[in-house]
Symmetry: C2
Subunit: 505 residues, 2 copies
Amino acid sequence: MKIKTILFTAILFCNPIFGQVGIEKWKIFEIKLNGPSKGNPFVEVQLNGTFIAGNDTITVPGFYDGNGIYKIRFMPQKEGKWLYTTTSNVKNLTNIKGYFTCTAALKGNHGPVGVKETYYFAYADGTPHTSFGTTCYGWVHQGDSMANLTLQTLSEGYFNKMRMCIFPKSYDWNHNEPLLYPFEGTAPKNWDYSRLNPAFFRNIEKRIGQLDSLGIQADLIVFHPYDSWGFSSLDRKTEDLYINYIIARFAAYKNVWWSMANEYDFMKDKKLSDWDYYIEQFAKKDKFHHLIGIHNGSRIYDHTNPYITHASIQGEDTYRAKEYRMKYKKPVVFDECRYEGNIPWSWGNLTPQSMIEKFWRGFLNGGYVGHGETYVTENPIKLPEVSSDILWWSKGGTLKGESPKRIKFLRQIIESAPAYSKPLNLFTWMPFPSFGIDKEYYLGYLNDAQPRSVVIDLPKDSQYSVEIIDTWNMTITPVSQKFSGHCIIELPGKPYIAIRIIKQK
Amino acid sequence: MKIKTILFTAILFCNPIFGQVGIEKWKIFEIKLNGPSKGNPFVEVQLNGTFIAGNDTITVPGFYDGNGIYKIRFMPQKEGKWLYTTTSNVKNLTNIKGYFTCTAALKGNHGPVGVKETYYFAYADGTPHTSFGTTCYGWVHQGDSMANLTLQTLSEGYFNKMRMCIFPKSYDWNHNEPLLYPFEGTAPKNWDYSRLNPAFFRNIEKRIGQLDSLGIQADLIVFHPYDSWGFSSLDRKTEDLYINYIIARFAAYKNVWWSMANEYDFMKDKKLSDWDYYIEQFAKKDKFHHLIGIHNGSRIYDHTNPYITHASIQGEDTYRAKEYRMKYKKPVVFDECRYEGNIPWSWGNLTPQSMIEKFWRGFLNGGYVGHGETYVTENPIKLPEVSSDILWWSKGGTLKGESPKRIKFLRQIIESAPAYSKPLNLFTWMPFPSFGIDKEYYLGYLNDAQPRSVVIDLPKDSQYSVEIIDTWNMTITPVSQKFSGHCIIELPGKPYIAIRIIKQK
């Protein structure tokens, strides 16, 4: 009977089923098992899956998905046959064996993003990833119709990363209750912290998957301070339950990034050692080794912590990317440099011109920059605490700003530049950034200055083509003359101009 | 015969003559004497004048003005009868006595500018002075026609301070030779450093006087690094000769400020102790106690030096005025925050929008900000080292920019604000500056942000009028509603907006 039960379980619940061929590399192989629904499965049932291919042995945790259903998710990172075995303290769930075959990744599937060449990101297949993020903290908590609108907007291809909170958000312009809650119980604060709500997490992973299908990284914010339910001040036991659960559920999604916090230093109940603890949990328990970051309020975290993979920074001086590269020896992502918008709070009333300037300065100083948008439209205007305006930064929906299409323009330029271009000093002692490959390719940016010319010293032994890029009007104009040595290049004499200089073969 | 000679000298050369009544307070009383022209009068003749009125005894140096003419200049700062006596190592010049009567200052004559209330400037008669400077480093060295054009431009009333070099300047867009040289000899470097050229200094004081008649302070730069003649690396003996000479000649001009240097730290031949020495010389030898500052290149001077009267700062972050006030406990003057213009060098290609923003942010953070302009117009464009374009910043002439009239607009607003308004926190935790008198008067500025509203907390027990100021379009629009307590004020949702809030009586 035992064999039969196992076979039955595997056939019925494994999806893809027992021995199925053709799990694409970096996609999810999921084992679905039937187990106990009585007691408290979240804390009483231990379940793991061990996956073996050649010399690789990887054990990942399973999780309880409600209604007596248990799942183990695995992201194969190597082609070929993978054997697996489950272990559990529940008889029905243990020692279940099977295998699947991991097939080659199809076009468009580059695998998860990791760090490459110290300061850069690349997908697992080696394709460079230049991070162009945006932010909709609470988009997964607003229901299908708003989420679908958000996804439709994202399909325009402005961005390839989404910063989003796992826990619901309570803040100006977002005082409505969320679609679902992460724990069993009733709002505002009557929760059974020993029982998670699978529907809540199922909704989130659905959105993660939808982002993945759009080629967008899901930068999942584990903790944040914008709270009216108590989720910002859990006890350690509950935190562990939650952390283990999201690792078990979400880590097999190839587009997941872990962000420990938004504005970690604004969470007054947590100490620095708490953050170090969380970081270590993810570093050790996520067997797929997704990127790990932590975002600051007013005090930048010590990103030299070796478990932190990249410096996630809130700061409006994106030109400091170069300095942070040197300091942390990691990729530098300005996840928040203020938002394009018109709200009274200073972090949300950038002009689109300023936003675009911050993007260019950040990228050409060797960093990555993220977007957010905060436009109110109500008439007459209302105080933030009572307004029901829908702001992209919080709920998603549609974009109203002028920066996204110009970010896309920049993205095309950056993605067509040589991979691993680095900050250069095309303008010698001046604060105008440039990056590229020395003597081969230069992309320079004149910030919001309005020079009618630049004076530069190109190598004397080569000829260079020059293009004038109007980053605001999104035009690229080649200069007919070729340049070499000490030269003056005429510019339009207005702000937001870039120049691209390429060696002639 | 001795008495007769003295009387003759005094009658003939004193201008105003011996015993003349009616020297207006803070204007120049000058004694003109005939003395030796042989040998080297610059180093061999000592001459002083001692002026006595009541308990005040002030001894000032005289100077040699060439052709056997010696002068002693004195600025009376107290009304009534002043007696004087000369002392000299030359018989003809010593023990000459006389008197004059100092009369009340006429309208428009407020006396020299000094420090008041720690962080502010005021004229000697108590009238507040809000410094709105500009910069034409070499304007006195370009000849009459250019100087007259500069004065005509200045008569438009944009500015009330001029930063100007005493020594001629050699730099990009200014490689022509000056009108005159400060020492006897021939260019480029064949100078008799023991003999000054009175005509050179006469030309400068003529310009100082012309500025004074326009109500403009002459911020005289004693040393600077833009040199092709050797004047940036004089020996100490020559420096002393020069310093003593300019104090003797210029200090009686009520509108003189002493600026030890432009970009002191770019003068590689000078040590920090040299600068301390110069500062002390002016502090001790100028008996009229004009303001003393020192302007930096990349490293700000230690303005805590007690002889320094105000912090003269080059730096583009004018909002840091508030911080420097705290640090130095002195008035803070951003004498250089980059210039409006279109040259390739980053210090000279600000948009007028940025320049105006820097002015507003500087003033509302409790500082003063200075202007400069660097527009090239040549077609085709030429390298800076060979261009013959005339740039306001270097030679004066006419202004081409868009910022001066907006600086004048700001000046009118600042001068109509309560005297000694100080930085406030109208916008609480946000980086938008405000200044005024708490609960009475607020002037706030939203930088280049584009909020559609501000949320502020005014005192609940009063009503406040609000005006929306468009600092770029130079409009002031009253809001019909009155405000009180926690309130939201609607704004145009575009950058460069200020608000003025005044308590209703």
